[in-house]
Symmetry: C2
Subunit: 340 residues, 2 copies
Amino acid sequence: MAMQAAGTDRPATIHDIAAMCGVAASTVSRALSTPDRVNIRTRARIEAAAAQLSYTPNSQAKALSSGRTGAVGVLVPDITNPFYFDLIRGTQLQLKAAGYTQLLVDTEESDEVEASSMEQLRKSADGIIVTASRLSDEALLAAAAKIPIVTINRDVAGVPAVVIDTPSATSQALDHLISLGHTHVAYMAGPLTSQSSTRRWTALEAAAEERGVDVRRLGPFAPKTQSGAAAADAAVHSGVTACIAFNDLIAIGMLQRLRERGIRVPEDMSVVGCDDIFGADFCNPPLTTMASPIEQAGRVAVSMLLAQLNPLAGGGSRSRSLMPTHLTVRGSTGPAPAVS
Amino acid sequence: MAMQAAGTDRPATIHDIAAMCGVAASTVSRALSTPDRVNIRTRARIEAAAAQLSYTPNSQAKALSSGRTGAVGVLVPDITNPFYFDLIRGTQLQLKAAGYTQLLVDTEESDEVEASSMEQLRKSADGIIVTASRLSDEALLAAAAKIPIVTINRDVAGVPAVVIDTPSATSQALDHLISLGHTHVAYMAGPLTSQSSTRRWTALEAAAEERGVDVRRLGPFAPKTQSGAAAADAAVHSGVTACIAFNDLIAIGMLQRLRERGIRVPEDMSVVGCDDIFGADFCNPPLTTMASPIEQAGRVAVSMLLAQLNPLAGGGSRSRSLMPTHLTVRGSTGPAPAVS
DNA sequence: GAAACAATGACAACCGATTGCCAAATGTTG
DNA sequence: CAACATTTGGCAATCGGTTGTCATTGTTTC
């Protein structure tokens, strides 16, 4: 019984195709990547042979000889943070649509891991998307000089960025709280190295001054639900009646802790989160939070990066994209308690 | 001003090091990968040069010549499903510890995407971890013949697997419900192609027969919170007083829908989830669910795969690993309502 | 019908490593 | 001091493609 031509278990190479068609390997390569440069009949034969052998190009070899890897690195500080799920999905879908592979790296909230990952990716990826970078401006700029980079939620002059406009949403949140009668508000800050947290606080402080209400900054708190307990206690101790948390994880952790301590939300304390992550709508009470199109942010970042990689057509790529953010009011905010 | 030797912006190669040390490239290669085969002084010189040039091996080239890519593919049906967060983190950490890179792929709950991803990974990865595969047994076996595979939550003879033992937890859940007085229980099934769902139902059915209570299977439901609404309505319509959902997403969706409809949980209806995902502890009411060490499952899967890849030392690798599961009782289950 | 031109495809170098093979250098022993 | 065993390290082929160069073929034009 004759063995099928495709029966060899080793993946087919262009050489197999070349041998089968009686042409040179380079012709096969051209037929598949530069179809116009090859006789249409030859091309047809080659394509048929490729199909029959179920040929798939070896991406390693391709990368090695062409210099392009067809991969894009995506760096996130913490994979288990739900905020990044939608972001990752956005980048994944958009990259796949463009024929790129996503290399996902968890940098464990560490600038060192982040830097070494970048160095590593420099050779194995065509570009990098960095979310919430913990690196210094200089380090980021230096990295961007070596490999195309788009940042998300980190704005450094000279590096294309997608910024989720939470600062402007903080004033919405503040107005919401003020209209409910709150005059003493706390901001539960995120990591000191988080630019998002800093910007948000700056915006909040400015808005508060404008409106003549008292805001104070507490923290920093790690962006995890576990930090919510400390945040809740700090908020209670500070005497405020409402707080705006760096993100939903902290806010949700606060809700749990406040419940444990018998402090009612929103009757005794109002809580506002940020990001509208998975869970914000079904926690108890449902969380008032600042929402934004996160998946789209991922897609936009990919588009910007790809525009940088293939500067072929039309419109010059923008180097900065601001994602709108709005306040979603749910059950965790309510009227300020009457003064006792 | 003299330019630094390391100043060229192109990444250093072993040839640069070789030139700098006055040896052949192959010697550099050996010095770095087979230190014993090279004179200790030469090695020292080479290492110093490598450090000075901040040399990093090109993984593409390495893969091409050695046949080993140093990467492992991890296939998940849906990245945004929180269940996979911990799993992914487990694989990521364990892989990184072993010096491997993780290639994460979202197969979008599609067997076709799954199959094509596998074919793709066959060349760019040394092995694959497949979670909750939607492929047929034959397809999975065929794939496993081409590249080392470890499955998670999918048991096929001949393919090493990590199985989370939820079936045995279902009887715990059932006993819990029975002790609360429930006699009519529904199982809200997952996708028909999900082996986990099938196994869980089989186990539940057997346990129910043994204990003489009524269980019925409803569904299938997609494993998303949105499906919870339909599941809730189906459960209510069927007249049961308790239900066990395929996973926490469906269960949480049910909680939301039941609340909308004014059906109290657990007074009117008890709900049990599965997986103990992020959110199960802070939803309203907190969800009684079947918990298991998911992150560890990811780590174990990686260990099994790596044992397969490097069959060097000691103990023969096991081909099947069962992760224990236990019932975590929270607020979503309570006494059966009195018969009206 | 010859010259000019375009289309086509073969050859070979190259990307950055790994690795088998062999020669040179070193050290040991009788 | 010769003969032998053992390191040590260089040469060159190889992995699977891409791409520049060039010879050949076929077509068009005057």
